[in-house]
């Protein structure tokens, strides 16, 4: 029998170490070992895009990658969206967009759509409709006909732009308590990054406890980021 290998992933800002067989797919590691079931398996063939996650910032289909290949990488899943600085401790503007614009019906494709949308807006903050449709062209939706998904991402682009303008046009940063600039300072109980259950932020609500909390430390958020950056 082939032995498992210890791999370390920085998932949604938190460093996680798991044992993986070489044959294990990244999506299975995410869902079964890390218990992050927001990332869906739709087709098993690399067509549908429901398993899309960001690996080192790039949208990839996590059913087309071995878990061991992601060793040392930073992975963002839909569960991490609300923890990003631009979410300001609430839903990410893309998630808000899907809510406001009715960007889903059954919701199965939604995690992949949201992550693909995030990758687009990172590269291109002001996409036109064609660019949005191209960016989600690897993600299948059987309910919406895509119209409302496009509107949801447009909503997010506008919302992010509005927030950036409100911040003086310097950065798409979160307001007040979670200014990322502070992260360069001393870590400790006094620092609050604004992310739930992290860096002294507000504690996780019971009904949102989708993500295991083991392995997190008071400053785990920053420590994980630093490690992830160095390993790239």
């Amino acid at each position: 029998m082939t032995e498992t290998r210890e791999i370390t992933l920085t998932v949604n800002g938190t460093e996680r170490t798991i044992d993986a067989e070489p044959r294990q797919l990244l999506v299975h590691a995410i869902r079964e070992d890390l218990d992050l079931t927001g990332t869906h398996i739709g087709c098993d063939t690399g067509n549908c895009g429901a398993c899309t996650v960001l690996v080192d910032g790039e949208p990839l289909k996590s059913c087309l990658m071995l878990a061991v290949q992601a060793d040392g990488s930073e992975v963002l899943t839909v569960e991490g969206m609300a923890e990003l600085p631009e979410s300001a401790g609430d839903l990410h503007p893309i998630q808000e967009g899907f809510h406001e614009e009715h960007g889903l019906q059954c919701g199965y494709c939604t995690p992949g759509m949201i992550v693909a949308g995030k990758a687009l807006l990172d590269e291109n903050p002001d996409p036109d409709e064609e660019e949005i449709r191209e960016a989600i062209s690897g993600n299948l939706c059987r309910c919406t006909g895509y119209q409302n998904i496009v509107r949801s991402i447009e909503y997010a682009a506008e919302e992010l732009e509005a927030r950036a303008a409100a911040d003086g046009g310097t950065d798409v940063a979160s307001p007040a308590e979670s200014t990322p600039d502070v992260a360069g300072g001393q870590d400790g109980p006094a620092f609050d990054c604004g992310v739930e259950n992290c860096c002294g932020g507000p504690s996780l609500e019971a009904d949102e406890a989708d993500q295991p909390t083991d392995g997190k430390t008071a400053n785990g958020h920053d420590a994980a980021r630093d490690d992830g950056g160095a390993s790239r």
Partner: protein
């Protein structure tokens, strides 16, 4: 279904990879994995050992050097799509890249891996043929260059030896009056080509076609050249009639099979049309023809 168990090897140099290929029993090479990983999980492929080349940093490049555009084995489709060099000078590559699969797959899948996979429906083999390109392979005896014409044998079968690693592909840098293009017919994003044609035209100072390359996708058992169409073009000045004749010749040379996307005669007609369009774009990009040939 889970993939069958395999040993996962991660060489960090080409030499290390080649010695693994030499010593292991029937190893399979893993690059972008966008075809291999689903084959593993459906157990269409059951290798005992996988040599994963993603850690060989020296293969992650796309550059012009020594008269060639060279793509290392870790150049992803998206790297071609985003390359300013490609956008400026290599029309067929710039056309083909965004037509491959979908954005996520283009971020991970590799051009060299696609060529080495040798799926007759793959786009890059046709581009390579049209450009008189070559695959660079490393084996126990060192490096060799395999011309595209000698590379493809059968579906999923090439002249690469078991212990050889395709480390790069290369095409000559464009002549002063050269243009190229790729046209692909597919039903929707993510689909393989129903038919595809890559064309490259080089003109002499007189405005005559000095060299023509035409590669066809998904209409034969491998990516295939349209040699008679190429020969018919050489020495001639481009005209709508000439391109029509070339299109007809290419269609005759193609050997498509009927399937759920259409019968063979339909695909031959598509080869005709796509050939004319690709040639027209190539001529226009070479700066020789002002207007596109109307369809």
């Amino acid at each position: 279904m889970k993939a069958a168990q395999f040993e996962h090897h991660e060489p960090s140099t080409v030499d290390e990879a080649v010695s693994l290929l030499e010593s292991l029993d029937e190893p399979t090479i893993l690059a972008g994995g966008q075809s291999l990983v689903p084959m593993l999980r459906f157990r269409l492929a059951r290798p005992e050992t996988v040599v994963d080349i993603n850690g060989i940093d020296s293969l992650d490049y796309l550059r012009e050097e020594n008269g060639f555009l060279t793509l290392g084995a870790l150049a992803r489709h998206a790297d071609v799509e985003n390359s300013a060099t490609v956008a400026d000078r290599y029309g067929s590559f710039a056309d083909a890249a965004p037509l491959v699969a979908d954005p996520q797959i283009r971020n991970r899948g590799t051009v060299v891996g696609s060529v080495a996979q040798a799926d007759p429906k793959g786009d890059w083999g046709s581009v390579l043929l049209a450009h008189d390109g070559a695959v660079v392979a490393h084996g126990p005896d060192g490096e060799r260059t395999i011309p595209a014409d000698d590379f493809f044998l059968l579906p999923y079968d090439t002249t690469l030896a078991e212990d050889e690693l395709a480390t790069a592909l290369r095409v000559p840098t464009p002549e002063p009056r050269e243009g190229s293009a790729y046209h692909k017919l597919k039903r929707k994003t993510g689909d393989y080509a129903m038919a595809g044609v890559a064309a490259r035209l080089v003109f002499d100072d007189d405005g005559r076609i000095a060299d023509a390359g035409i590669g066809m996708t998904a209409v034969d058992i491998t990516n295939a050249r349209a040699k008679e169409a190429e020969a018919h073009l050489e020495g001639e000045r481009p005209s709508p009639e000439l391109l029509e004749e070339a299109g007809e010749l290419a269609a005759e040379e193609s050997n498509p099979e009927s399937d759920e996307h259409g019968d063979a005669s339909y695909k031959e007609r598509m080869v005709d049309v796509l050939t004319q369009r690709a040639l027209a774009d190539a001529a226009e990009r070479a700066g020789v023809v002002e207007r596109r040939v109307p369809q």
